[in-house]
């Protein structure tokens, strides 16, 4: 049967294209995804050694990089590595917050887009949502710095309207960061939801209305259950990407707030300690996956639905 499948595959794509697809996909998956991740994972269990000592007697597997994240450096007076763990926790919480913020903002938009049957206005709206993504991430982040700065549009406007007397430090309060991150992933939240909601039969909504259901009821009982695969797919992406974001926290984060990715970056870059950085990154990835799976379990979403 596997043979038949393969034959069929070649028949459909032609021999040359078929081989190209197989080799390209294999290369992509193995060389660009699996191998580097395995070697990073391998790194995370090694000692930080200068190049001449690599492969030498000191190059043995160790758990110390992971121990460091939990207990800190040797001689740490505290029981745990308070600084790093706090950043880790804060990053996950902040990513969850960004995810929820995006969900709340994007659900009505996705619903409107999905149910308006692709009229002219819808297309314009979608275009407006896409165009900002042509601008690169760094530029977008700096633009947010300007908007949220002391003399930025928002502060000026609020002072002009008399809402505040002196400018609010949005950067310090991390408002700019949340706004920037939320904004960066809006499309990733909207499109999966939009995709699912678009296929929801309007008659179901009208039937519910006919039976006297309120809008809240209609969304709670009909639209949201139906859109669940899209919602979870959007939330997963936004959560993973927010937790792993680097540029936005770097540029928009307040002076006292550190994103866990920034610590990882420091280990790799300033510290030159790849094993330590790999261990931190591995823990972040594993924890994110665990959280996503747990949340999916709670909301009874199947893995298969996400790919829809």
């Amino acid at each position: 049967m596997g043979n038949g499948l393969l034959k069929d595959f070649f028949k459909r794509n032609g021999t040359v294209m078929g081989w190209f697809l197989i080799i390209a996909v294999t290369f992509w998956v193995v060389v660009l995804i699996i191998l580097p991740q395995i070697s990073m994972f391998d790194f995370s269990f090694r000692n930080h050694l200068p190049p001449p000592e690599m492969g030498g007697p000191k190059d043995v597997y160790t758990l110390k990089n992971y121990k460091y994240l939990i207990f800190g450096a040797e001689g740490n007076p505290d029981a745990y590595n308070k600084t790093d763990l706090a950043v880790f926790g804060k990053t996950l919480l902040a990513a969850a917050f960004v995810t929820i913020l995006d969900l709340v903002l994007c659900y009505p938009i996705a619903y409107y887009l999905g149910q308006s049957r692709g009229g002219g206005l819808t297309r314009v709206l979608v275009l407006f949502l896409i165009i900002p993504y042509w601008i690169n991430e760094i530029l977008r982040a700096f633009a947010f710095r300007i908007i949220f700065g002391d003399s930025g549009v928002i502060n000026e406007m609020m002072m002009f309207l008399g809402l505040i007397d002196s400018p609010i430090d949005f950067i310090r309060e991390n408002v700019a960061l949340y706004a920037g991150l939320g904004y960066a992933y809006i499309l990733l939240m909207i499109f999966p939801m939009y995709n699912v909601i678009e296929s929801l039969d309007r008659n179901q909504i009208e039937a519910a209305r006919d039976m006297g259901a309120s809008w809240v009821k209609i969304h709670r009982r009909i639209v949201i259950p139906y859109a669940k695969p899209g919602i979870s797919s959007g939330c997963t992406m936004v959560f993973m990407l927010s937790a792993g974001a680097l540029a936005a926290p770097q540029i928009l984060g307040g002076p006292s707030s550190l994103w866990f990715t920034q610590i990882i970056y420091q280990w790799f870059n300033q510290g030159g300690n790849w094993p330590q950085g790999s261990a931190f990154a591995a823990v972040l990835l594993a924890t994110c996956i665990f959280i996503v799976l747990a949340v999916m379990r709670i909301f009874k979403v199947n893995m298969g639905d996400i790919g829809k």
């Binding site: 008659n203 179901q204 039937a207």
Partner: protein, 370 residues
């Protein structure tokens, strides 16, 4: 049991921009009646139903339910329940939750809802199937669930939008009887929409025949079939042989039409079309295939048509004979099988007879296209 709540449409117009979907509809539906709108696809049936259920407001005119003007009342404020063309069951809710959804909206407890759903499941002969999902039921069962869900809201008027169109022929015929029985049992007004004349004629107390936004005739099924008011109704409802011509002689209820290819033919003018035909007018004469016969009997009129058999089809309960009249005029005749051994072979020359009372003369008009 309630007396039944009537529905009135008074000079109702419905426009979508420039497009007129419904033109000056005047309909009087009596309480407890099974009323059908019959017309080809796109003639505005669904639009009328949506206006009655409150999903859209008429551009002009009034809709009364139980004598009350419904203007400004939304779908949830009207004593109607709509069954959608595609049923629109909630796919992620169990069958019983679907059925009791209107109670859930009203805040009934789960046990109360379950109890009522089970009663309705008994009524639609789906006892014990409440815990399935709609997708686990057959087409006919889903159909009945949609009816139960609508009835659970205890509407005064049930609106059905071609609910049987997705079913296969056998099931459709079965569901006709079932629907009619349910209607008699619950005693509420049913407004039924269909493009299938068989459905409309078998189930309804009254039928409104529609053509492109206009209601041509409202009457009981037999009158629609026997006394069509317009050429459109005559050609849309049932089969008819159409002969075009001009009026040669006319009395109050009889006309002689000088047809283009078949000579002079006599026919009755239905009550609704009397006074509409005068000498020299363009007219159409309709003879149903089953009104044509080959044996002359005393009460047959003197009208006869010469034709040659093209081919015939034996259908068990009878024959359909396809003939060619003068100048290639196509004529269809249906004969009942009474056990005679006779067959009608191609090329056979026949003289057809019909009772002028069973033929209908009407002003020329647009015909229903096949």
């Amino acid at each position: 049991m309630s007396e039944g709540v009537g529905v009135d449409l008074q000079d109702v117009w419905i426009k979508f921009g420039e497009f007129v979907a419904v033109r000056q509809a005047n309909v009087n539906i009596k309480g407890g009646e099974f009323f059908s709108f019959l017309g080809p696809s796109g003639c505005g049936k669904t639009t009328i139903l949506r206006a009655v259920s409150g999903f859209l407001e008429p551009s002009d005119g009034k809709i009364l339910i139980g004598g009350n003007d419904m203007a400004g009342f939304g779908p949830n404020e009207r004593p109607t329940a709509l069954i959608f063309q595609n049923l629109a069951l909630f796919p992620l809710m169990k069958v019983w939750e679907n059925i009791a959804f209107s109670l859930e909206v009203k805040g009934a407890s789960a046990s109360e809802r379950r109890k009522r759903a089970d009663e309705l499941l008994d009524m639609i002969a789906l006892t014990g199937q409440g815990d399935k999902l709609p997708s686990e039921l057959s087409g006919g069962q889903r159909q009945r669930v949609a009816i139960a869900r609508a009835l659970c809201a205890e509407p005064d008027v049930l609106l059905l939008d071609e609910p049987l169109s997705a079913l296969d022929l056998k099931l459709r015929q079965h569901m006709r009887t079932e629907l009619r029985e349910i209607q008699k049992r619950v005693g509420i007004t049913f407004i039924y929409i269909t493009h299938d004349q068989g459905e409309a004629l078998t189930m309804s107390d009254s039928v409104a025949v529609m053509k492109a936004g206009i209601i041509d005739q409202i009457a009981d099924g037999k009158s629609i079939y026997d006394d069509p008011a317009t050429a459109f109704v005559a050609s849309f409802v049932g089969e008819n042989n159409v002969f075009r011509g001009t009026v040669k002689k006319v009395t109050k209820d009889m006309a002689v039409i000088s047809t283009n290819r078949t000579g002079d033919l006599r026919a009755r003018i239905p009550a609704s079309a009397q006074t509409k035909l005068s000498l020299g007018d363009q007219a159409m004469l309709f003879i149903r295939p089953e009104a044509l016969d080959v044996t002359e009997s005393k009460n047959k009129s003197d009208t006869r048509i010469k034709a040659k058999v093209h081919h015939s089809e034996f259908e068990g309960q009878g024959y359909n004979v396809f003939l060619e009249g003068s100048e290639g005029k196509e004529i269809k005749m249906s004969l009942t099988n009474r056990g005679e051994t006779r067959m009608y072979d191609s090329g056979m020359e026949l003289t057809l007879h019909y009772d002028a009372n069973q033929a209908v003369a009407l002003p020329a008009g647009e015909l229903a296209s096949e």
